[in-house]
Amino acid sequence: MKVLIIEDELALGKSIAAYLQAENYTCELAPDRKTALEKVESFDYDCILLDISLPDGNGLYVLQALKENNKTDGVIIISARDSIDDRIKGLQLGADDYLVKPFHLSELSARIAAVIRRRRFSGSNLLEAEELTINTQARTVLVNDVPVELTRTEYDLLLYLFSNRNRVVSKHAIAEHLSADGEGLFDNYDFIYAHMKNLRRKLVNAGWTDRIKAVYGMGYKMEIP
């Protein structure tokens, strides 16, 4: 899977690349629009992360170029600006998602996974790991082919952990992901424990080997070999 990171802040671009490497993504970095356009024209990417404020001009231009060349790369805009106008403009030009800085890498990773899933027309909507199967289309979870009844929050939590499997996901990132408005008005992370407990109980009861590990009150990690 190939991901192009168009981001002029090298430190951020590198962080994203390092985080995504664990997912076996091949990441390429483009620090400006010129490089980005060259890369976009020569290669196909599964997902492009696009910072729209680039040193040599607006990144939306890259989106336009993609559209003109009839390319179907998935695009996620990552921007420091989050006015509704910017969002609408980006999405109208064909971006799949819009993520405002600062964001959690785990959130970005989950969104990339979602974009790639949506873009893969031929592929299945099934995420499989050992006895666990997640159908992202029907939003159902099977353990050993037996459906497990999960609440919306529990399903979101599971999918989030799965998208960030083998990496520690901080409780802050989980809390922000789960709070519907994303505002994160609370600094209280205790409610995650309750959801996590229920999720694990339900999966384990269905015959799943618990792969979720708490990491010192810092976050959780789903370890899938």
């Binding site: 951020l12 994203i16 785990s106 802050h172 990132a173 922000e176 408005d181 609370f186 409610f191 010192y216």
Partner: protein, 410 residues
């Protein structure tokens, strides 16, 4: 006291003093003149009479054609100077003269009662005239002052309506009066200066908030990478968690600041009719985990089916901030009462056992509790949204309850 009344007051005092002093003085002067006149007449009569009397024989008993009620002649012992005096309502001239070696006293009198009446009439007339004159003066003065001060009141009205966050600069218009023109120019300059510094400050907050986002993203990203390092001790994990919490707070603060500037910039122009109850219930549903976590008792009281024409995002922020505050600043096992009645949305909650300083809580970064998770922007945002839509917000602490009331419709 108004400037107009003040000037009129001075005019009135002056007029009264003038009236009170002028009328008696005038009366006295007039009287003096009249008496002098009468005296002159009396002296003239005397000068005219004496030669006639001296050549006339005096026959006792027979009436003297020269004498009458007003002119009397009688024998007198002594002699003396002529004297003029007032007796009752008459002015008298008494003079001694010698007719046929005999001394006579001649008395001529003239009534001043008639003159007194005349003086009275003149005084009354004068009073009326004076009063009319003064009243007219006052009226003219008032009308004139009103006209002259009109630009001043206009300026005042415009100033009162002016807000420093208005997009347009203050325009007070010209005036024919140099002083007012100068005043307007000076005030306009002052307003422009404060508007500019306000805009600069706002832009600074906006730019700073936006510029902060990229480093924040880097910081947050690196922290997440740090979480992935192996081996990771518990001590390191704790440090990272604290850092992540701090960066989360920074991110939220940043979001709040940007929201504030955006409200101030009027970047939420689109509005729609929204039922407050639905919005609040939706939010309460979202906060359910937090409410349960703190074992809070929630009581809702929907007495009013209130709908307001507002921006949906802003209404959600407004209600969300109030409700989340009620949860966050509550004590475990406490109570929250949400009420919608008489066009007002009220959130009451238990919490710290003392009242918050009402005048300060709506200010930026006026932290109400030592609690680290209050960012000090929530209530300012609430206040700004209320101001945007003409809602009034009121805080009270009664019976152990902190209550915030937003009057959305009167």
């Amino acid at each position: 006291m108004k400037l107009l009344s003040k000037t009129i007051q001075y005019y009135f005092i002056l007029s009264m003093v003038l009236l009170l002093v002028a009328v008696p003085v005038f009366y006295l002067v007039l009287r003096k003149i009249v008496i002098a006149n009468i005296d002159a007449d009396l002296v003239a009569t005397k000068t005219q009479l004496i030669p006639q009397l001296q050549v006339m024989e005096i026959k006792p008993g027979a009436p003297n054609p020269l004498l009458n009620n007003d002119v009397t002649l009688e024998k007198s012992q002594g002699r003396g100077e002529d004297s003029l005096y007032t007796s009752e309502s008459h002015r008298l001239l008494s003079s001694h003269l010698v007719i046929n070696q005999e001394t006579y006293r001649l008395q001529i009198r003239s009534s001043i009662a008639n003159h007194q009446k005349l003086i009275g009439s003149i005084i009354v007339l004068q009073c009326v005239l004076l009063i009319l004159l003064l009243a007219g003066l006052l009226l003219v003065n008032q009308a004139l002052a009103r006209r002259i001060w009109k630009p001043f009141y206009q300026t005042l009205r415009k100033l009162r309506a002016y807000k420093v966050d208005d997009a347009a600069p203050l325009d007070l218009g010209g005036s024919a009066v140099a002083e007012f023109r100068e005043l307007n120019t000076a005030v306009e300059q002052l307003a422009e200066r404060s508007r500019k510094s306000y805009v600069a400050q706002k832009e600074f907050a906006e730019n700073a908030s936006h510029e902060m986002r990229t480093p924040l993203a880097i910081f947050q990203g690196k922290l997440e990478l740090l979480m992935q390092t192996d081996p990771l001790t518990e001590e390191q994990a704790e440090l990272i968690t604290d850092l992540a919490t701090a960066s989360q707070r920074m991110a939220r603060l940043n979001k709040g600041l940007i929201l504030l500037t955006r409200i101030q910039n009027g970047q939420f122009p689109e509005t729609e009719e929204i039922a407050v109850k639905n919005s609040a219930e939706h939010l309460l549903f979202q906060y359910q985990p937090q409410i349960e976590q703190k074992k809070l008792q929630l009581e809702t009281d929907w007495l009013d089916d209130l709908s307001v024409q507002v921006n949906p995002t802003l209404l959600e922020v407004l209600l969300g901030n109030l409700l989340s505050n009620a949860i966050r600043h509550n004590v475990p096992g406490g109570r929250i009462v949400v009420k919608l009645a008489n066009g007002a949305f009220t959130v009451r909650n238990t919490g710290q056992p003392y009242a918050l300083p009402e005048e300060r809580i709506f200010e930026r970064f006026a932290k109400s509790s030592p609690d680290a998770d209050s960012m000090g922007l929530g209530l300012e945002i609430v206040n700004k949204i209320c101001r945007l839509y003409g809602f009034t917000i009121h805080y009270a602490y009664e019976n152990q309850y902190h209550s915030f009331t937003v009057q959305m419709k009167s």
